[in-house]
């Protein structure tokens, strides 16, 4: 991570500044909608960033990442439904359950490679989806309404839009910072080395499997946090957040923004969700435009938006 002044860094800096100042704009103009939209975007950006750690740096193409959104969300929702409203309990549980789930499915999935890996992660996410659908005590198919957001002993009030927004933003920046540290750490170099050439890494003395599995678990845990935030944001959690098309959305955000670039997923999430919002205001059939757009991006903009910006610099 070299701190040079170039197009992509400039864009990232502007975007981050705008995100920090957004609540001010919202308060001045009275535009509440934009604050709720961006709260959602930030949460998805956190989820996409965690997927990026795994996919972009670790080379593990998980097609089941939305499962952790659901797991984190259900941890909060179920505890709330059982009368445990404290975030100090809900959130650690959400993280722990996500980590455990990631540990189990990662341990099994990482035996496979390539498309088989994509499919087996998908299969596990679908299982989680069906389990959630069967939780009739907690809403089953229809989902579970959360009547009271997580409480933090008066430390922070999640029902206050601005406070919640800043909490989400802090989680995102914290998450990205953590990922940045990881990527440049010993561990991060090993994981990236394994992505590049697993056999070579084994030959120079690294047990690749353990490192990949650890990376898998870290990514799942961060996404579980995003799930806890998402459930609080919508006051609701349902199996639909775990459906495979949700995992597809997360992948799209990562690739759209630029895989293996630190802020790529944030940019991807903003572009994808803002576009979705704009197009759906303009026409009910927004996917008619979004779909071909994705195709064009794949065909003509390899490396995503960050890749494009990188090319601008080189002229």
């Amino acid at each position: 991570m070299k701190s040079k002044l170039n197009a992509s860094n400039a864009v990232v800096a502007v975007v981050c500044a705008a995100l920090v100042l957004l609540p001010v704009y919202s308060a001045v103009t009275g535009n509440i909608f934009i604050l709720t939209l961006f709260t959602r975007i930030i949460i998805f950006a956190l989820a996409a960033s965690s997927l990026n750690l795994m996919m972009g740096y670790g080379g593990m193409m998980s097609f089941g990442h939305a499962a952790y959104l659901g797991i984190g969300g259900y941890a909060v929702g179920i505890l709330a439904a059982e009368g445990i409203g404290s975030g100090f309990i809900q959130w650690p549980v959400a993280l722990a359950v996500s980590a455990l789930f990631a540990l189990v499915i990662g341990a099994l999935s990482l035996r496979t490679r390539g498309v088989y890996f994509i499919m087996i992660t998908l299969a596990f996410a679908q299982m989680a989806y069906y389990v959630a659908s069967a939780l009739s005590r907690y809403g089953g198919d229809d989902g579970l309404t959360i009547y009271k957001r997580s409480t933090f002993d008066g430390l922070i009030n999640l029902s206050d839009r601005t406070q919640f927004y800043y909490l989400c933003l802090a989680c995102l920046f914290g998450g990205v910072y953590l990922i940045w540290r990881i990527v440049n750490s010993r561990f991060g170099l090993v994981v990236q080395g394994v992505r590049s050439n697993e056999q070579r890494m084994q030959a120079i003395g690294f047990p690749a499997y353990r490192y990949r599995l650890t990376c898998f678990v870290i990514a799942g845990t961060i996404c579980g946090l995003a799930g806890a935030l998402l459930a609080n944001n919508t006051d609701f959690v349902s199996p639909a957040v775990m459906y495979w098309t949700r995992s597809g959305d997360l992948m799209v955000m990562v690739i759209l923004g630029g895989m293996g670039s630190l802020f790529g997923p944030l940019i991807g999430a903003i572009v994808y969700l803002v576009l979705e919002e704009l197009l759906s205001q303009f026409t009910e059939y927004w996917a008619l435009i979004m779909g071909p757009l994705l195709l064009l991006i794949v065909l003509f903009a390899r490396g995503g938006i960050m890749g494009l910006l990188g090319r601008v610099r080189r002229g």
Binding site: M55, M61, F63, L108, S109, R111, T112, R113, G114, V115, Y116, I118, M119, I120, L122, A123, F124, Q126, M127, Y130, V131, S133, A134, L135, S136, R137, W244, T245, G248, M251, V252, I255, M259, Y285, W286, A287, L288, M290, G291, P292, L293, L294, L295, I297, V298, L299, R302
Partner: protein, 305 residues
């Protein structure tokens, strides 16, 4: 006992239908190394075309034939306009691009046919039950699905194993450069294979249409099942896809039919009725996970490239 036979037949029917879908997917995947998520959309389009054409012509068979032709053309057009530019790309790129196509097709259908589902009524000659064994009746339509799908499977086998085209397809699958060096027009071959896969998906869609409602998103669930099948069967292997499809069809159907009662014998009534639907939906994925954990390349891996 009769119930078991009926459910076994239902499972076979569902499995054969899945095979039609999986065969196209595994051909495209195995030969062109192309992951096509939009395969489910072609299945959906087959169903919508059928509902429309049967309505126009008033004849089920004529409508079905027209729908089949339409899906074939749609598949070829899709390959020609978009997908051929994605061969040789990362699987991830292909996943992303065809994910975009799913979005597109779903909204396209919504725009043209509206958000509500369609029904495709059967002609009376297909609704009467047929007596298979003394006392065992089975719906004529489901039986005809079994027959048609078996015929198609047999034809597919003959085409792939016994004809020149099939030889080219297999050559293309095992060694693309070699096939190119032999002067085979790879581009044309790929377009043909893709069209064939699309037609098979369309056939599955239009045959399934009278049993389920024709609706948006119908392709997505079943697409994942088809992927499960080719992964279990081993990517690129038609034989593997056939066996895995029937296996999956039967397991899934029997699971849904008998698991609730089975669970009730070990669990309390409430617990069983909670667990059963989830467990029977999960069964297939569980199966795939077990297969992959034990055999990371599927049960019948095709020859290495």
């Amino acid at each position: 006992m009769f119930l078991l036979i009926e459910q076994l037949l239902n499972g076979l029917q569902f499995g054969l239908l899945l095979f039609l879908l999986a065969a196209g997917l595994t051909l495209v995947f195995g030969i062109m190394d192309f992951v096509n998520l939009a395969h489910g959309s072609l299945y959906m389009m087959g169903a919508y075309f059928a509902a429309t054409f049967v309505g126009w012509t008033g004849s089920f068979v004529l409508g079905a034939v027209l729908a089949l032709a339409a899906t074939l053309l749609l598949g070829i057009a899709l390959e020609f306009v978009a997908l051929r530019h994605l061969y040789g790309r990362d699987h991830l790129d292909q996943v992303l691009a065809t994910f975009g196509l799913i979005l597109f097709f779903n909204d396209m259908v919504r725009l043209i046919w509206g958000p509500a589902g369609l029904a495709l009524p059967l002609p009376t000659w297909l609704t009467t039950p047929v007596q298979l064994l003394p006392g065992v009746y089975y719906p004529a339509y489901r039986l005809s699905i079994i027959i048609v799908a078996l015929l198609v499977a047999a034809m597919l086998y003959l085409v792939v194993m016994r004809t020149r085209i099939g030889m080219l397809i297999r050559a293309g699958a095992s060694n693309r450069e070699m096939a190119g060096a032999l002067g085979i027009n790879i581009k044309l071959l790929f377009t043909l294979v893709f069209g064939l896969g699309a037609a098979l998906a369309g056939l599955a869609g239009l045959m399934q249409a009278p049993i389920l409602t024709v609706q948006i998103g119908m392709g997505e669930n079943i697409l994942i099942l088809a992927f499960v099948i080719i992964v279990i069967g081993g990517i690129g292997s038609i034989r593997g896809a056939f066996l895995a499809a029937i296996f999956v069809g039967i397991i899934d159907t029997l699971g849904r039919a008998f698991l609730p009662d089975l669970l009730r014998t070990v669990l309390s009534g409430a617990a069983a009725s909670t667990a059963a639907p989830a467990l029977s939906s999960m069964l297939i994925y569980l199966l795939m996970a077990i297969v992959l954990v034990l055999r990371p390349e599927g049960l019948f891996p095709a020859a290495k490239r």
